[in-house]
Amino acid sequence: MGLQEKDYDYDNLRNQGTGSHEELDEYKIILYPFDKYQIKIKLTPSNEFIGIIEVKINKEFLSHKQKITSEGFHDVDEFYPD
């Protein structure tokens, strides 16, 4: 039993470090743009799918849409008559 406690302390020390309580890298979160939405996905460090955390409107995408639907050209013909 005592040995097991030692092992527990050892693992804590190894994983968390002295004076540190950092989160373990057991998963990662990525943002995936899909149409108008931005999906927050949880993956393992080896990119295996764990689950969807959040789906929200991709505000950046809307601004991009505004960009691509803008006129995009300079209306200058009137300044260059034949």
Partner: protein, 208 residues
């Protein structure tokens, strides 16, 4: 020069046609209004069929025409008229004296458009010894300019049937005079694609 007809090539010897009507022929009596078909022989024509679509006795052409004299009013263009072809900053699209006179809100509106095309219907062809030099008359006391820049206007495009145009390779290559560089052909492709890809305001509302 490649032994093949390609998009943007300069050809000689092909007539250009322009049909003109006064009213659409919706009923028999409309025929009384008559119509005209103007035929002329431009010095050069430009292939506007995409390279892969040249063949089956059909080709899309547009005549090579003289540039507008007012292009030379803009020092940015005057230095090299092919600067009209790619996208540009809004300040570059107008002569400096025009830009300076824009009210602040007009400047802001144009700056918001950002980097974009001017003259979306036009594409300038670089000066070439093969092209006849002509005089560009300028207003006021400005000196006339001799140039051999030419341009095409996408709105002048017409179809020509010629049975010898079977494929890009099996075509009357003796009529081919010049071809664009890969970069210039790419610029022409991008610009004509943009010319057709513009979405009208009324359709933008439906897309939102």
């Amino acid at each position: 020069m490649d032994n093949v007809l390609r998009f943007g090539d300069i050809l000689k010897g092909y007539i250009a046609i322009t049909p003109r009507i006064k009213v659409p022929f919706l009923e028999v009596s409309s025929l009384n209004e008559g119509y005209n078909i103007d035929v002329n022989l431009p010095i050069f024509s430009v292939v506007l069929s995409p390279s892969c679509s040249i063949g089956h006795a059909i080709i899309s052409l547009t005549p090579l025409i003289k540039v507008r004299n007012t292009f030379f009013d803009n020092p940015y263009f005057a230095e090299d008229l092919t600067r009209i072809n790619p996208k540009m900053e809004p300040q570059q699209a107008v002569p400096p004296h025009v830009w300076d006179k824009f009210p602040p809100e007009e400047k802001q509106k144009r700056l918001e458009e950002g980097y974009g095309y001017a003259f979306v219907e036009l594409f300038i062809y670089e000066k070439n010894d093969l092209f006849p030099i002509y005089t560009v008359h300028r207003k006021g006391k400005q000196e006339d300019i001799k140039t051999s820049y030419y341009m095409i206007d996408f709105r002048n495009t017409y179809k020509l049937n010629y049975e010898k145009i079977k494929t890009p390779e099996d075509a009357p290559l003796e009529s081919k005079c010049l071809q664009l560089s890969i970069q210039a052909r790419s610029e022409l492709r991008d610009k004509i694609a943009y010319y057709y890809a513009r979405v009208p305001k009324e359709d933008k509302i439906l897309e939102d």
